[in-house]
């Protein structure tokens, strides 16, 4: 009973948040200064009529919403227009129909672009996440086990330094280093390799992933290491660990059977939250290594004021973060039933 209500409440909040994001997502980009029809082509060959046709095509000729013609510059308009003839409600209506619009710059449906790029990002960031979790947790356990020794301090400093390295800078350094050691430095596969044998193609993509993934692991493993270390140290100070020691269990057994499992809870939360952001990609890593993912799409869309593409990517990211959080909440309630009653 209680559990059912908890589920309902969490799902309800998630839906509300998504709705809020939808609205914010729309108005945020309308408040930014700039006219996309102008940004599209600042060229004397582009006559005023042609610009007007573009505006009509992208629906920019309609009022933003009732009472407002445009938001920046703020221009009030007629309040009695049909709401379904305003940009806002057309946007909502299209979303409900699964239409994300047409990218201003590339003239392609936003949904197509996102579908292509989502997979690339999930591949790269997913691999980076999993490896940084594995490496980070392993180092964290090791450091906690060897607490307050040279190894622990060494791991701690390494973790802190790695965590605070600027991603862009590290990426460039690895790019310089990698390029002289034969690693590919741009794109996700060798162009023109799509006719080669599948095994070669897989190897080729893996080869292209090495440098960006390495960058990702170095930057993100620090976080997992630090959380795992402190969480495990807390657990190791518990009385039942002392009991286990008194029973004569080996250090390995204590860690494996008694400590790590209990120390994993904060890590699970962290993983769930970070998985949500996986979709956002790592804008900087994708930009340095020309990885054709969502991060790169955001970068390009900002440059060219491609509102539909920006809205699409932001929506996708927001929804996946909210969903990941929801899953974390639900998993948590399963792992630790006390959460439901709070």
């Amino acid at each position: 009973m209680n559990r059912y209500r908890y589920l309902l409440k969490k799902t309800g909040w998630a839906l509300l948040t998504i709705l809020f994001v939808l609205v914010l997502n729309f108005f945020l980009f309308r408040i930014l200064p700039g006219d996309p029809a102008r940004a599209l082509t600042r060229d004397p060959r582009m006559k005023a009529e042609a610009r007007e046709i573009l505006r009509v095509r992208f629906g920019l000729d309609k009022p933003v919403i009732n009472c407002f013609e445009t938001l920046t510059p703020l221009k009030l308009g007629d309040c009695r227009v049909n709401p379904f003839e305003t940009q806002f409600f057309i946007y909502i209506k299209n979303l409900l129909q699964g239409e994300l619009g047409i990218s201003y710059k590339t003239n392609r449906p936003v949904a197509d672009i996102l579908a292509e790029r989502l997979w690339n990002t999930v591949l790269l960031i997913g691999a980076g996440q999993i490896l940084s979790i594995v490496v980070g947790v392993a180092f964290g356990v090791f450091a906690a086990w060897k607490a307050r020794t040279a190894i622990d301090y060494g791991a701690l400093i390494t973790g802190l330094v790695a965590w605070s390295l600027p991603t862009f800078w590290l990426g460039i350094i690895l790019l310089f280093w990698g390029s002289t050691h034969g690693f590919p430095i741009g794109g996700k596969a060798t162009p023109g390799s799509s006719t080669y044998p599948l095994l070669y193609q897989i190897g080729d993509v893996a080869n292209h992933m090495i440098l960006p993934t390495l960058t990702y692991i170095i930057v993100y493993m620090g976080e997992y290491m630090l959380v795992m270390r402190s969480s495990l140290l807390d657990v190791l100070a518990e009385d039942y660990i002392l009991t286990a020691k008194a029973k004569g269990l080996s250090a390995f057994q204590i860690l494996k059977d008694h400590a790590i499992k209990n120390a994993m809870l904060p890590i699970v939360t962290l993983i769930a939250i970070n998985l949500g952001f996986t979709v956002a990609g790592a804008v900087q890593i994708e930009a340095v290594f020309s990885w054709p993912g969502l991060g790169g799409a955001i970068f390009e869309a900002v440059e060219s004021r491609d509102y539909p593409l920006l809205q699409g990517t932001f929506l996708l990211i927001a929804v996946s973060v909210i969903l990941a959080n929801l899953i974390a909440d639900l998993t948590y309630s399963y792992l630790d039933p006390r959460v439901q009653t709070e």
Binding site: A39, R42, K188, G192
Partner: protein, 545 residues
Amino acid sequence: MKIKTAFVVLLTVLALVLSACGAIGQAQPVVMRIGWAGSPDTLNPGAAVLTEAYTIFTLVYDTMYQLQLDGTFKLSLAESVSVSDDGLVYTYKIRDGVKFHDGQPLTAEDVVFSYLLYQNTEGYPWMGDYTYYFENIEATPNNEVVITLSEPIPNIDAQLVFLYVLPKHIWENEDPVEFENVAAIGSGPFKMVEYKPNEFVHLAKNADYFGGAPKVDEVIFQTFESQDALVQAIKTGQVDMITEMPTTAVETLKQDPNIQVVTGAPFAPSVTDVIFNQVTPENCPPDDGLCTGHPALLDRNVRLALAHATDKQKIIDVVLLGYGTPGVTLIPDGLGIWFNSSLKDYEYDVAKANQILEDAGYKDVNGDGIRETPDGSRSLTFRINWPSDSIDSPRLAELLSEMWGQVGVKLEAQALDPDTLTSVCCPAFDFDIIIWGWGSDPDPNLLLSVMTTDEIPTGSSETGYSNPAYDELYRQQASELNLEKRRALVWKMQEIVFNDVVYIIPYYEQNVQAFRKDRFTGFILDQPKVELSDVTSLIRVEPVR
């Protein structure tokens, strides 16, 4: 235990995969890999805006004329042309036996279909302008295309050079604006193999091309989002040529014995200009004009003094690290014969600049180091703005501020969002000085038009400059059919705006590109313009044996 096994499996897979990489590599076709920092916005020639798209179009499609690297036009798809005496009717004989990449023949029908499509599709941003003078377009049974103009124009070649000939049998079934045209079936020297937006464009040679088959089998344009990656890619041989690079990388690349760095006027010339607001109250656009420019800028003496106070060589050395030539007027040296090479620039002479201002009555009355207008009402303090997305402008503004400070002129510098800049610029004329730029057609008509009185209310004129003599010459050159006479008119116009100091043009930026000379040879390097990825070069490039 489990983790260990998984790790061993992973290593084994990795080893297998890496050995597979080594196995491939026998009897490969000759592939030229080109790195660039952009990607076409779309492969639909009517809808495309970016230069990268046009680079691909000229490789994949044919046009009536081909633009050469010396700036002239050569008949390409047409083997001959005849013009009626009144200059209104052009008859082009299309080459026989030309085929599209899918094997279908290309005839005059396809040409007419394409031109009409460009003219009649309202959603195409630029094509309406290139087809503006076409009154009637017809095909004859003799594989000829007859174009009737509404008035005689001197530059039909420059209009036709961007009108790519599309296969009617494909395009007649598609929505002209929304069609993505990923297969890009054309008839040019290269055919599309695969296109991945923002990743690469993969082309292969068209062995049947009427102008002779290219000597390389495949050309791949690969997108690199960071310029450092681009430089590193050519250094390590991951690409064979790069179309752009940061000027800071030029010296290091020049040290490499396998790489040749080339510089020259760009194929598509662009101009950076320092714009003075010169709109007079009479010419202030009635609807949109605010016209708040500093009155001193209406005085030629002030503009002339500023020109003498501008050390262009220093600007080029600092901003472009030397890769530019001093600018004279809005018509850049990259426009070949249209560029008035006889004009001698105002020499950099601070004393002379000070003297001009002194003589014209601009004196520093209150002793604060800034001159005042002769009536003493205002100091020579100018606002200067530039688009915030420009990398070079902040440095340029800083240098101008320093240089002009020596003649008692103060600048209040501020970067503006490009759209805000558009709204203060024109036709509002709510500024004093702006640093901005133009891209150019191969024909000078476009850039000449922005200094005419007619363009003040439309927003194309950035200066508000108005000179009836110039306007008259503009009209004459726009209908002068004799090339030599038109050139003389165009040169005269440049002389007028140069003497009136309508703009200060700090520099004409050069194109800086590089290729692996240990791998490929045959690029066209002896022409006034440098563009390694141009079709005229790529068709004759061959591997070093």
